[in-house]
């Protein structure tokens, strides 16, 4: 069986590279370069991908891919999402319009999301409590999507692990549903 792949996507500065580094068993592969965009308050930014992996202990390895965040790298979002088991969307709640940010990613992945295991992780909710998690859920609900939304600090391995656990549980539930349907 092919090793499962989870894709971390989301806004610049939301912590995709950090999340993968927090979880990966090996030093992650990164493609960060110096940022020249004055509207982005960070020294370096991912322009290709991040890659890490986690040993699941049963001979399987979970592969973690991170996308660049900026819309101009949307082509990489699609390339990396091919054959993914799940999508983790990270949103930075300190950005000017986090709900719009979420909508951008929902637009980009609209063909995949209805059948894709997914979770939304919202960061910096302590400093920026608005919009609330319910408002994010409303954006998803308006599109007919039921996707868990959680507040996370991706610097904490436990938080990243929780996101991964959620999408793996979704994948398992989908497999069971499919098996039951096959037996009937």
């Amino acid at each position: 069986m092919k090793d499962p792949k989870i894709v971390f996507t989301g806004t610049p500065g939301a912590g995709k590279t950090t999340a993968i580094a927090a979880l990966s068993d090996m030093p992650p592969v990164t493609t960060d370069v110096r940022n020249t965009d004055p509207t982005l308050a960070k020294s370096h930014t991912t322009v290709g991908l991040d890659f890490g992996q986690v040993d699941l202990g049963d001979g399987q390895v979970l592969r973690l891919f991170g996308t660049p965040g900026q819309l101009r790298f949307e082509f990489m979002w699609q390339i990396l999402a091919a054959d993914a088991l799940a999508l983790v969307v990270l949103i930075d709640n300190s950005r000017p319009d986090p709900l719009r940010d979420l909508a951008d990613y929902l637009d980009a992945y609209q063909a995949l999301l209805p059948s894709m295991n997914a979770v939304i992780g919202v960061g910096r909710t302590l400093e920026c409590p608005l919009p609330t998690l319910d408002e994010f859920s409303d954006v998803l609900g308006d599109r007919g999507l039921v996707v868990p939304v959680l507040a996370v600090d991706v610097r904490e391995r436990a938080d990243v692990l929780m996101l991964v656990d959620i999408v793996l549980a979704q994948a398992e539930a989908r497999d069971e549903t499919r098996d039951e349907a096959t037996q009937e």
Partner: protein, 128 residues
């Protein structure tokens, strides 16, 4: 835009123009920042310059990561050799600032000539 960025764009545009003239079979040249912004371009690009700049920066960064992981040092060039032409990329420096130059050619262009011309860009930008 700062004076320095303005000057960088001017030199990048000159390099793009020169490269387009110097290489037989060259269709277009683009100079981008490593984080995917179009600084200058010349010739007939078959796609949006901003989109190509983003793609080129991703590919250059992936080449860099692959070289690093394979312990083969710093990459100089990447070549996408396709059925109807080539994309040849080279990382260069302008006053210590890293840039990526990409040359789009038809199949008539000789790879050795293209690589030599790209080396010349590095030299001309280096003294600009």
């Amino acid at each position: 835009m700062t004076m320095n960025q303005d000057e960088m764009r001017r030199h990048a545009q000159q390099a793009a123009n020169d490269l387009l003239c110097d290489v037989n079979g060259a269709r277009a040249v683009l100079v981008a920042t490593p984080d995917g912004f179009d600084l200058a371009h010349a010739g007939a690009l078959p796609l949006d310059a901003g989109r190509l700049a983003a793609m080129v920066s991703s590919m250059a960064a992936l080449g860099d990561a692959a070289s690093r992981e394979a312990a083969i040092g710093q990459p100089h060039c990447m070549v996408v050799d396709s059925s109807a032409g080539r994309l040849v990329m080279r990382s260069v420096q302008w006053r210590g600032e890293p840039l990526v130059v990409v040359l789009l050619t038809d199949t008539a262009a000789l790879l050795g000539m293209v690589l030599n011309a790209l080396n010349g860009v590095e030299r001309s930008l280096g003294v600009a």
